[in-house]
């Protein structure tokens, strides 16, 4: 197994959610199919629990149903217990690599960006995962919403240095 230095752009990317915790191993591209299967399972869960429903998001933001709070709350509790166990027992990946956790840095973006995303979430009834799932269930018009979200991502990249962080 080879390793390579992957930390070259760590600083730029450390502002992002994706950046703590990286595998240093280099695998052939087709190893990624395991993430495809993980995504399939994840998509089915999102849809069968109706988390991708615009209606359910409206219920959540109007405090008319416990459903979404139950889903997110129990997901966080399960995730937290899992992370605790991984840290406590020093569980390794299936390739024997150490699982590392890095702290998230605070930035004002979490406030401004968070409010903007929340606004968009209520309008579209979807956060990024559900956008993909909605396209999958045949709502083809949501491809436009997805492209618009990608455009929003690009505009953020363009302006990121000028925005308060």
């Amino acid at each position: 197994m080879q390793t390579k230095n992957t930390n070259t752009d760590f600083e730029v990317r450390s502002l992002d959610a994706m950046c703590f915790n990286e595998s240093e191993l280099v695998h052939p591209w087709w190893f990624n199919f395991k993430y495809l299967f993980a995504g399939i399972f994840f998509g089915i869960i999102l849809i069968k629990a109706q988390v991708i429903s615009w209606f359910r998001i409206q219920e959540m933001f109007r405090l008319q149903s416990f459903h979404m709070y139950g889903v997110i709350g129990s997901a966080v509790v399960t995730g937290a217990i899992s992370v605790f166990i991984i840290k406590k027992l020093k569980i390794k990946t299936i390739y024997g690599e150490e699982i590392k956790f890095y702290p998230k840095e605070f930035s004002k973006g979490q406030i401004f960006g968070g409010l903007l995303f929340g606004f968009g979430w209520a309008l579209t009834g979807a956060c990024p995962g559900p956008l993909f799932a909605q396209i999958g269930i045949g709502a083809t018009v949501i491809t436009v919403t997805l492209f618009s979200a990608i455009a929003g991502t690009w505009v953020y990249g363009l302006l990121s240095k000028k925005l308060p962080h």
Binding site: A49, Q50, L115
Partner: protein, 189 residues
């Protein structure tokens, strides 16, 4: 066949929530990957729109797994709407049904309201705001916040990161304002 029918019913929160939570350790254990979905849109920008913007200049090849994951979500959608399709309308709080009726939303056959989310509606003021402006805010806001519901609310909170709690509270505040104050005004159009 009985199994498929059983699986096709809407899943309760106490089944779906823990399964979603288990995605965090699953991705860590199968390849040291941090669960987060909105980053996929950044990688798509980095791959498809080569520009001089430093924000998109990184080794996206390492992040390809994230795109496999979101393509998986699309396949998950196809499976759910065919093999595991639930023919019953979405069951909602009657107060919401009553409110939406005022805006001409009466179709509950799909998980999204096809009365307002369809190709024809795209060119109306309402459809433009809901789908195009809304989508833009999702992309811009998640990147500005450095993550979305998966990256901050699930992964970040699972790792007890207070900046993720700040982000999650702001997601909810933004959503409450939009859903209760702004959306009723827009839906009247």
């Amino acid at each position: 066949m009985k199994l498929l029918e059983w699986l096709s019913q809407p899943w309760p929160w106490w089944v779906a929530g823990p399964l979603i939570g288990l995605t965090v350790p699953a991705l860590l254990i199968i390849g040291n990957k941090t669960f987060g979905i909105s980053s996929s849109m950044r990688h798509l920008c980095a791959i498809c729109l080569p520009t001089k913007i430093s924000y998109f200049q990184y080794d996206w090849k390492k992040e390809i797994w994230n795109l496999f994951f979101v393509v998986g979500i699309i396949f998950g959608g196809i499976i759910s709407s065919t093999l595991l399709n639930d023919p019953n309308p979405v069951q909602l709080n009657p107060a919401l049904v009553k409110e939406l009726h005022q805006y001409g939303i009466n179709n509950y056959t799909q998980l999204i309201p096809i009365d307002i989310f369809n190709w024809q509606a795209l060119l109306s003021v309402k459809g433009f705001i809901l789908m195009i402006v809304g989508g833009f805010l999702v992309g811009f806001g998640t990147r500005y916040a450095g993550g979305c519901t998966s990256g901050h609310s699930i992964t970040g909170l699972s790792n007890l990161q207070w900046p993720s709690l700040v982000a999650t509270i702001c997601f909810m505040v933004g959503g409450f304002i939009a859903a209760n104050l702004f959306l009723p005004f827009i839906l009247k159009f």
